[in-house]
Amino acid sequence: MLFGSFFAAYFFARVAVPHEFWPPLRPGTTEPFELPVFLALINTIILVTSSVTVHWAVTSLKRNYRAGLIAGLSLTAILGLAFLLIQIREYMRIGFSPRDEAFGSTFFALTGLHGAHVFMGLMFLTFALMRAMKGHYSAKHHLGLELPVIYWHFVDVMWIVVYVMVYVV
């Protein structure tokens, strides 16, 4: 719902507000706002890879392969952290702020909301990793792992939508 309302705001800004270009021109210039599409693509690859590693972690647990579980979760946490650090770096160098027209507001609202979800997912997965290291999960009982992993896939799905809608199309 929250993402839906933010996307609605983004599309409204994009469709209803008359702009000759998208991203629009910077106020008082003939230069449009620029988005770091390539950097975001790297972030997309990182996040998709993290979903694969976390899926590997769950599959390993189901096969009673604990080393795979720990390695998968560790890799996922590292990739999630890398995603956040790259996004912070992107914010620092992007050249516009949330105050720059509806474009800036909706861009930071959408990507920031997603970043907050990644941060929460990272917390969940870190706790899951700590519990896994203590041997808390088994092939039979692992709901405490499966739920944060489903959440992580959801975060990944949302990023793909954000990436395609905001950066590519």
Binding site: R14, V58, K62, K140, V149, V157
Partner: protein
């Protein structure tokens, strides 16, 4: 498929979203925003219609079963989760096969069908062969045996010892059926005897 039902479903949903996103992105790059929007709507609509039609055609298929053939193990060697299915002979039908295939990532099945000793014989073997053929039809490697009810725990223990089994799937009759108490006890016995996860699913008699 609900992405919230299990991790496996969520992962499959993610792969689906990636495919749709790639199509939308390509359309957006080649055309414009509206082209991408039209592509997104048509791809999603096609997927929804395709899934619904596929589900309806599976549900409306005739209950006739194909006979067992020598191609039963044609897909052997395909990686994925291995499932041990334990079921009364009279529940070994298309509903069971479909439910087994719906289990996350099932690619290989070893099935132990059981019946009272006096009912073992040609009909039980026929059911076993039919179940195997149904599973192969769903592109799953299948080996099916039929044993006497008294020997089922022993047969399950042997299967768990010999084969690499990821899950045990026990089919039971519904609560209220005369066989249900014994089958429920069997589920508990299998669960106690092994560390392998056990799933019990109740089916209506066919």
């Amino acid at each position: 498929m609900s992405p919230f039902r299990s991790e496996q479903d969520a992962f499959q949903f993610l792969l689906l979203v990636i495919a749709v996103a790639v199509a939308t992105a390509v359309a957006g790059i080649l055309g414009n925003g509206w082209t991408a929007f039209a592509t997104l709507v048509s791809v999603v609509a096609s997927l929804v219609v395709g899934v619904r039609l596929g589900r309806r055609s599976v549900e409306s298929e005739s209950p006739e079963r194909s006979t067992a053939t020598a191609t039963a193990t044609a897909t052997a060697g395909v990686p994925g989760l291995a499932l041990l299915v334990v079921a009364p002979v009279d529940l070994a039908d298309r509903s069971l096969a479909r439910e087994v295939v719906a289990e996350e990532g099932t690619r290989s099945v070893r099935a132990v069908l059981f019946a009272p000793e006096e009912n073992l014989g040609e009909p039980a073997s026929q059911r076993a062969a039919e179940l195997r053929a149904l599973l192969v039809e769903f592109d799953v490697t299948a080996q099916v045996i039929a044993v006497a009810q008294a020997d089922v725990e022993k047969a399950v223990a042997a299967e768990l010892r010999d084969g690499h089994i990821d899950h045990v799937f026990v089919a039971t009759h519904r609560q209220g059926h005369s066989e249900f108490p014994a089958e429920e006890e069997l589920v508990h016995a299998i669960d106690r005897a092994s560390d392998t996860p056990v799933v019990a699913v109740a089916f209506a008699s066919s």
